[in-house]
């Protein structure tokens, strides 16, 4: 038992206390009198200077009327999930959304002015919104013409409030809406009428010269965002972000980390640069605020592919042992796994083990490949860890459970530093479903006898 015990965490606020604090805070915000408000008894405000220059025009909905389109097959699967032989009209395949356990695929290498910030999980949605989306580009070039289509079940009477002009086509049990960039209203209506749901995966747009871009984001899959000063890199381009691109005042093709990309200047002066990651097929984006607009080219040139995770995995696999270690048993969390089936850090066959700086480690997946280390966060100091090896059982006692932001993303042994007296480290990803930090359990061995 170490002398520097884990100090008890401060008492966490109960739900009722938290709610009370939320109310106090928002009451204070609501009570603040807003300078320049002319609302008083409820008269309408005339023209006011825009705080954040948004286009003032109200969305004009072009109702196309009911157009007969192929009825959706009742057993239609989510078009965002690829079938094994899914191809679109142009022959490109969509690899489909990947798990959120992946690292942020890009980073910004431009120096101290734009330091890498926290990685956050952006906007996880509740399941089952029923929204599916895809997009096409004229000749494969979104700057030459971009059409974004989505569908939503007809249980809702209301059209979503959107910027730009929306064309909506109603089918038997849902509606398809589109917005576009670089198309006339009649061209958009014409193309929308050709979208044929239920005809294949993804929706087919049979029009000549329109390439399917494969944008897709299942509603319950999170994106990762990382700030670099005032600039943000994202690991996915969401439906809302894509619809917003169709409001761009200017768009041009650019190169990002050696890949073809596009830069969209938005009405509020900010810039959104998007490109497709050749490794995953998913789209990434760089968001540049309006006040940095003059430096978009410089920032775009500073985007680099993040291979740190891959490199470090190569560097540390040499410390991963190929032979099995034994059976890891932790009664406190109902864990019972054979360790050492995986010859690599990705621990796909179960937890992997090895030596790092003289300390034995066991690294396991948190939520994937059987989720062996799912409940590692529940361990407390003094919990017992047993390792049943061919040389007999070995017993360890937990001394500390902590989480540290990882410098490197992805599969690597980027654990919290080992402490003096550590005999064993258990390492997994944190928080669940991401790889932005490393949950590390420190343990001392209790000698037998």
């Amino acid at each position: 038992m170490t002398t520097d015990q884990l100090t008890p965490p401060p008492p966490t606020p109960s739900d009722a206390e938290l709610v009370a604090r939320i109310r106090v805070a928002l009451d204070e915000v609501a009570a603040t009198s807003s300078a320049g408000s002319a609302v008083g008894g409820g008269g309408r405000i005339g023209s006011r200077p825009r705080m954040w220059g948004r286009i003032a025009a109200a969305a004009a909905v072009i109702a196309v009327g009911v157009v007969a389109v192929a009825v959706l097959r009742p057993d239609r699967r989510d078009p965002l999930q690829p079938t094994t032989d899914s191809t679109d009209a142009t022959g490109a395949t969509d690899p489909g959304p990947s798990s959120s356990d992946g690292p942020l695929p890009y980073f910004l290498a431009i120096g101290e002015e734009f330091p890498p910030g926290e990685i956050t999980v952006a906007d996880t949605c509740c399941a089952g919104t029923g929204t599916m989306m895809t997009a096409w580009a004229r000749g494969g070039d979104p700057a030459a013409g971009l059409l974004v289509a989505w569908t939503a079940p007809l249980y809702s009477d209301y059209l979503p409030d959107l910027p730009g002009e929306v064309t909506t086509v109603t089918t038997a049990d849902s509606s398809i809406s589109t917005v576009s960039l670089g198309l006339s209203a009649s061209e958009r209506e014409d193309l929308t009428a050709q979208i044929t749901p239920g005809s294949g995966l993804p929706w087919i747009l049979p029009a000549e010269g329109w390439e399917w871009l494969g944008f897709s984001m299942a509603a319950d899959q999170p994106a990762l965002e990382q700030s670099f000063g005032a600039v943000t890199l994202s690991s996915r381009v969401s439906l809302e972000a894509f619809i917003e691109l169709t409001t761009a005042t200017a768009a041009e093709a650019v190169t990002v980390a050696g890949e073809p990309g596009w830069s969209f200047r938005l009405p509020d002066g900010s810039t959104e640069v998007v490109w497709r990651d050749p490794r995953s097929g998913l789209w990434s984006s760089l968001s540049v605020p309006a006040d940095l607009a003059a430096r978009v080219d410089e920032l775009t040139a500073a985007v680099e592919m993040n291979t740190a995770g891959e490199e470090s995995a190569d560097a540390t696999t040499s410390t991963v042992q190929a032979e099995p270690l034994g059976r890891l048993v932790i009664d406190a969390i109902g864990l019972d796994w054979v360790v050492g089936g995986s010859p690599a850090l990705d621990a796909k066959e179960g937890p992997a083990w090895g030596w790092a700086d003289g300390v034995m480690f066991i690294v396991g997946n948190r939520t994937t490949y059987g989720a062996p280390f799912l409940r590692l966060d529940e361990l407390q100091p003094e919990d017992v860890i047993t390792l049943e090896t061919t040389d007999g059982p070995r017993t360890f006692e937990v001394t500390l459970v902590e989480s540290c932001p990882a410098q490197l993303n992805g599969v690597n042994l980027d654990a919290c530093p080992s402490r003096p007296g550590d005999d064993l480290l258990l390492v997994t990803f944190d928080p669940k479903y991401t790889s932005v930090a490393r949950l590390t359990v420190h343990a001392n061995e209790i000698p037998a006898g």
Binding site: P10, P13, D15, L18, V19, R21, I22, R23, V24, A25, L26, E28, V29, A30, T32, S33, S34, A35, V39, G41, G42, G43, R44, I45, R48, R50, M51, W52, R54, A58, A59, A60, V61, T120, V121, A122, D123, T124, C125, C126, A127, G128, T129, T131, A152, S156, D157, Y158, L159, P160, D161, L162, S227, A230, T232, E240, E244, D268, S270, P289
Partner: protein, 153 residues
């Protein structure tokens, strides 16, 4: 389109509510006023055809605040930091809570603040977010859990 007099009546009847909802969603009175005004104007062309204008207005406010949140929440946090302690600024506890709320994914933030401060029902939240009422309970649960962690640190 609805005539001026009727829209004025609608505006007067719902403006204060719209501001309150936007305060819940963006954490700034000034921004909330702007977004509430935008939302009411956006609703105007459709008012005549709607069964339940207030429900539609809810959805519009939630969507507009979402767009704002994506672009400006971080900047708002910098502003809070920079103005902390200045006369007229919020208390430290309020700033801490606003920061914690801003750190939540938008839908979690929306569910928590609309339920616990704006007094929306779960059905109203579900309709505005475009999800099932059961999902609202999940969002609230996750939101509270994350807030608890943010505040405890």
């Amino acid at each position: 389109m609805m005539d001026s007099a009727s829209f004025d009546a609608f505006y007067r009847a719902h403006h204060a509510d719209a501001v309150r909802w936007a305060v819940a969603l963006v954490g700034s009175r000034e921004v909330a006023e702007e977004l509430a005004h935008d939302s009411l104007e956006a609703v105007r062309p459709r008012l005549d055809g709607l069964d339940q204008p207030p429900a539609y207005l809810r959805r519009v406010v939630v969507n507009r605040c979402h767009s704002w949140h994506r672009r400006h929440a971080r900047e708002q946090r910098r502003i809070r930091r920079a103005t902390a302690g200045a006369p007229g600024a919020y208390t430290a506890e309020t700033n801490e809570m606003l920061d914690a709320l801003a750190a939540l994914p938008y839908r979690q933030r929306a569910a928590v603040t609309l339920r616990y401060w704006a007094d929306w029902t779960d059905d109203q939240i579900a309709e505005a977010l475009g999800c099932a009422p059961a999902s609202v309970r999940v969002l609230v649960h996750r939101g509270i859990a994350t807030l608890r962690k943010e505040i405890a640190e």
